[in-house]
Symmetry: C2
Subunit: 106 residues, 2 copies
DNA sequence: AGTTTGCGAAACCGAAAAGTTGCGCATATA
DNA sequence: TATATGCGCAACTTTTCGGTTTCGCAAACT
């Protein structure tokens, strides 16, 4: 039951939903209209997104608008940072160096 | 059976493995030594990582060294780009603006 | 008031995932 | 040659996931 953001973005439909509501809040019905699924399925995805605080709700009459909490997406960016350091620091050269050392050991 | 990189990083153990072999290639046994799982479980994770081309193998005698293909991680970075644009362009102000407009509609 | 619409929640189902166990093969070591 | 080690693969079990169906509630419309 404990979800994290990485599990949330694992599903393609959820990624599409995230991109859809990133700039504009939308209702579950409106979101479902963009895909080939039912409102209930979308609602379930939204629930998962809400569980890991990726979306915020805004009630307006009987409609509920969902919008992406963009700040939460930075968590992915932060995790990626460790790898970005690697590939930005000319990793290819380092890789070649390591390969050379390994061959010498053989 | 069709996996993508987002599903690959959904599992916490796999993320730990990825971080572990990012800089240094390791054998399945060595990787398993770092976690509280069996070699077979690690082997299965490595197979999944290999399926979406996130790791490369290097055979050395009866040992197999696995290393992260760091370039593949850029796919996540690319996907994140669309959101980075949003939060880097002072999204908060835009959000406030939209909220104001919405209130006026009410 | 009665009906329609928008929604969440729960129950259910088939498919897939994660982990365990056991096996066989190849490479080392005695 | 015999034994131990490192590994992948396949079978099996338990859990989880994604989707559908059904229900009930609240807000809107007639």
């Amino acid at each position: 039951m404990r979800r994290d953001i990485f599990q949330a973005i694992a599903d393609p439909t959820r990624r599409a939903i995230i991109a859809l509501i990133a700039l504009q809040a939308m209702t579950p019905n409106a979101i479902a209209g963009h895909f080939d699924t039912t409102r209930q399925a979308v609602s379930k995805h939204l629930r998962i997104l809400a569980e890991c605080e990726l979306v915020k709700q805004e009630h307006k009459g009987r409609e509920i608008y969902y919008q992406l909490k963009i700040d939460k997406m930075k968590e992915i960016d932060n995790w990626l940072e460790q790898f970005r350091k690697i590939w930005e620091s000319r990793f290819d050269q380092l890789d070649n160096l390591l390969s050379t050392i390994k061959k010498q050991k053989k």
